[in-house]
Symmetry: D2
Subunit: 400 residues, 4 copies
């Protein structure tokens, strides 16, 4: 059997790489995706081959990630449970898509990953696997009864097979990083009454240590997508990279919440999403002057479902595509500029403008001129009140 394994070079996936060879007598092809986790990927192929991989793919997916995954999601205004900007969720379908493509290229019957049996990531990976390649065999060692049941067993196995064990102390929480965010969970974060440790954060300065001077930036949007930062036109990837730096410096983009996993339990997560937070706010500001009221309200009505789909892993699902069609239609007019102020953890909109603003001088005079007749409000209110009056009369009749 041939298996393509999502491989990071870390202890767990190295052990899995070896274990797959032994357990399934399989040829294992390692695959690592670069979605902006800023880890050293240079030595990975060698490391993989040392652990027995027949091949190792290292794929730079960052541009595609920014352009085809992060941007459409931000365009849709997606926020899960009023706070989580879906940084991990949105990376998984892309990683899994390339995973399947490699399996096809290599004629592999199976794919394997190192996600555990309690999390969302296993679901996100596997829904994508099945959606793109319905006949694929999926191996998830952590859910396999034959896999290691304790850290000690794993360490022994690693030693036996010459898998290097990292010497640095393990962090008291786990983290996942990509272009859009870093997430932290587990360990010391498991008590939701505890604040996160001050030294945990990597992308954002502690607001209390952030610069004393505020910084204002502008972002230009076209059809819901950020296209320029401070007037400089940038592709999605460099725009996000640059914005991560600026927003992070000011401590913008931290969020700390208890969220509901698809697999059924609540989980505490802490996130840093500097660029994502600013893009979200700035886009809202431009929307406010360019999006029709009823379009905006309809968008807000379907957004929670859209975000739930992304969170749960249903990116390559027809219902997400259906909602995306509506979201893209809604974003069609969202072209303009927002100015935001970054200061000690907060991101405040201070201005917004658009050539085709639905709020501007022309409209103001349109209202004030002969065209907005205040008397129109009489009829508007009276007809809106009609059903309330009738209902009230009937109730009074019943009482009287």
């Amino acid at each position: 059997m041939k298996v393509v394994l999502a491989y990071s070079g870390g202890l767990d996936t190295s052990i899995i790489l070896k274990w797959l060879q032994e357990e399934y007598d399989a040829e294992v092809i390692a695959y690592a995706a670069d979605v902006g986790q800023e880890e050293e990927l240079d030595g990975l192929p060698e490391k993989a081959k040392n652990t027995g991989a027949s091949k190792c793919y290292v794929e730079d997916l960052r541009e595609e990630f920014a352009r085809d995954f992060v941007y459409p999601m931000i365009r849709a205004g997606a926020v899960y449970e009023s706070g989580y900007l879906l940084g991990t969720s949105i990376a998984r379908p892309l990683i899994a898509k390339r995973h399947i493509e490699i399996a096809r290229e290599q004629g592999a019957e199976a794919v394997a990953h190192g996600a555990t049996g309690k999390g969302n990531d296993q679901v996100r990976f596997e829904l994508t696997f099945y959606a793109l390649e319905p006949g694929i065999k999926v191996i998830a060692p952590w859910r396999n009864e034959g896999f290691f049941q304790s850290r000690t067993e794993m360490m022994q196995y690693a030693e036996q097979h010459g898998i290097p064990i990292p010497v640095s102390a393990e962090k008291p929480y786990s983290m996942d990083r990509n272009l859009l965010h870093i997430s932290y969970e587990g360990g010391v974060l498991e008590d939701p009454w505890n604040a996160p440790p001050k030294d945990m954060f990597l992308l954002t300065t502690d607001p209390e240590d952030a610069p004393d001077g505020a910084e204002e930036i502008t972002i230009d949007f076209e059809r819901g997508d950020a296209v320029a930062l401070d007037g400089e036109r940038l592709e999605p990837l460099p725009l996000m990279q640059k914005l991560n730096g600026i927003a992070g410096r000011h401590g913008v983009g931290r969020i700390d919440l208890v969220e509901n996993r698809f697999v059924g339990m609540k989980s505490r997560g802490v996130y840093e999403t500097p660029a994502g937070t600013v893009l979200h706010r700035a886009r809202e500001a431009v929307e406010q002057i360019t999006m029709d009221r009823e379009v905006l309200h309809q968008r807000d009505a379907i957004m929670p479902r859209y975000a739930e789909l992304v969170y749960n892993g249903f990116w390559f699902a027809p219902e997400r595509e259906m909602l995306q069609a509506a979201m893209d239609r809604a974003a069609q007019t969202v072209t303009g500029t927002a100015r935001v102020k970054l200061y000690k953890g907060s991101c405040t909109v201070t201005g917004r403008r658009a050539e085709r603003s639905l709020y501007d001088a022309d409209i103001a005079s349109f209202e004030a001129g002969g065209d907005y007749d205040q008397a129109d409000a009489n009829g508007f209110i009276r007809l809106n009140a009609l059903r309330l009056r009738v209902g009230s009369l009937k109730e009074q009749d019943a009482k009287g």
Copy 2:
């Protein structure tokens, strides 16, 4: 004819008070509601009588406002267009309700108010009037062709009738204040590219001038309602008053947006809602550990409609009451404590706990113990993927 007029003692409603007497040959009863606008109301009855009112009601509605209007709305998580906490919207139905009660007590056939023909407040007042007293006659002078068409005319009229004209310079924007917030709009704010003037804000310190030291507070909730601040049990009104002070000192609660009015145009509004902002965040934090996932998602799905109803003035409407029934049911389990940090304009949740938390040590062990079997995820994922696999197979068949 007898008319009850919503009267503030200011220039506009004083002129209306006189004008109603002349135009309708009416006996006018003045009525001022105290919803926390912190204006001097002591001399009001005398002032009203000097301008010809037969009577003047000054009503302290602050407790009722906090308890029966603000609290149920916050319990429902209501936010309009992702930002506006509905401070003005929620006061209007209460003011109008008491207005109607006075009209009944006084046997008045009509009610009058000084809201203009372009705003939301006219709608909110009048929908409440009609819902509670379907046969009432409503007089809205600003929409009346016979009313003054210019400031000059009004000034002349005031002088002729001995109505005192305030000497202080008018502010370059209009504002509305109550216990929950101050709103600012118009004037210099009309250009949405302009940031609000630094000296405009009354309830909140400029974040850049706020204390350098962060402050942490705790808020206890019972069934979705805040009941204690830093461990001190407080009724809604004093709790909000105290919290306004604390949050305002740290610059928390400013929001600047362009919103969609019910009457059809976009409008720029700047708001200060210190206590409201903190209560909203803190309640979310407690919800996250006490509210079932599907209840939360359902709440989020109907919240935008609930907020729209409040914004548009449909408080005394059966559809708001229907949604409130759902919201109150959802809030039933929301009992617990949140700890938030206030610092230079931001309000960050740093901890949450609850006796009946759906996330706690017991659950953790419940998961880890024999009861959460990671292998369960296999079936969960496979059945969730089934329709995607079938769909994908059909598509491949079609292509192949």
Copy 3:
């Protein structure tokens, strides 16, 4: 002034035609749209000119009506208040669109229509006018204080101006007919306890008089649109015409309800929609085997809003277009055939099939084979139950 008037040749619009000339000293251009009302339109231009029209447009819009209005709406599954198939609603935007085009061609500043001030049609016409030509002047004589306040006055005016008064007795209800339906309201129908008169219906045989033999037909759909009837490929217009005949013969498509008008009151309406009813049912049947579950549920969640928009007259509105984008995406897979049985008023689906059915022999074996493992249901149920168990445990703790 130049005015384009929607003109039917009947008494009311003839009077309006004359009145516009007198009241506004206007040049009036008459315009009649053929949307399948099956009235004699041949003599109309002459009649219009006799009453003073400078010109008369008679436009056959039936193809466009079926293809660009009825079909997209049916594709979206639109039903208002669980019963009304929107026959009148969907015709209005098209009629008004052509009205505006004529106004532009003729350089007219105003458009006029004969709809009354209590109904939905005035709204549907005028929202379209304003959406397509925001600066247009709209004249709605029935809402004009200077217009006739009684039938007697109108008769006198007609006589004075040589406008022919129909001799046939007026029907005890009003009706509106087009390709999609006939609606009946008013008069004897105003008492909602009264059944409609037996001889009122024009398109459908009384079910009790319909043929004793049932008839089965098949309809083929492509991407949600009906393309063939009993295997014969037909364009939208002839397909609907033919299907109206068949379904009407069997008494299919009557509906009797009390609906809520946009202007605020309830209204009793009786409708005959033979082809529309059958198309709706048949499309549902094909959807059931070709549309993904979550797409279907999402469609059902937004359909009521879509139908409300069509009912209220917001066809040319960005929010309808946004929803249409989602609806069209959802309908993309709806290709297949339904067989329905027509019998004495009922339309029953008896079979459905599709080449790319998501329910078929292949799937059955896919399920039964090695691929659907019944044991998967264990994990599926257990993880779906997890939050219920935790919630229940917490409740028991609290009690115990």
Copy 4:
């Protein structure tokens, strides 16, 4: 171990009864619920004991079923996927609730049922088990690897253990019956292009064989619940029984569809729901004159989710209870009478009335009198059109 088994006396659950004793060395308590399946339950305890049960409960749940399950669901207007009236779905939580109560009474650690691993019923049963008794052990033999894998094995086992094998030929489909409906699926129905066999239906006459004379009946509702039939006040159970007879005689209540199961596949189901169909239509008719427009539209917006919850088995779930709170609030005004005509398979509303109708003579005059001013429609339309005009102007600017 003690196990309570849902037992019907049929071959499958008899085999399971024996198998549980052998496989788990368990004491098995048999339990049969009467929800109106109209089967002989008299000899059941003896039969169960003969197969080794230590005890046998036979519980008549019909009243509770009608009153506390069917009625609240009908009050909510629940229909799954535009057709299925949820007859089986709504019985399962009740059956499972009593199952758990018996397990508690008997101190049993486990519950067992005979539902297969591909259907919805296993989910409905088990979600209820877990929600009410989170620590319960659930045994579902059909999903158990150690259980019989073929009919032949089962027959042998039955013979070996003296379990009587029914002599009558098996039906070419499976069915489930209760007070609300009979469902048919599987076998000859599996080809969705095939019409159901004519002789399959038990509750309804074939419409083509139904009486040639139509029958009109009236149903009175109070707060959304049917309380009288043809003027005779009846409790839920006898009302439904009587109505099943009348409607069934006229062939009313058949539906044939392909639905989406919670476990992921599409499934063809044919249903007879005579009383349920009539109650649903009649309630709609009364709602139309007694329910506020916006309440009705809100109800319609959340109904699909409510129905999905019932279908999936989430009756004892906080989100269903939350929605029920809204549904019950909405139904509060639904008091009145509907008249429906039953004729050869169709159920047509011919009249509706209510003391507190929102449509009646009083309202008519209210409209026509001084209170409905047609001129009000001017302002109503103009303000509703405002955003469309502004949007259109901006678009023209952009083009021009």
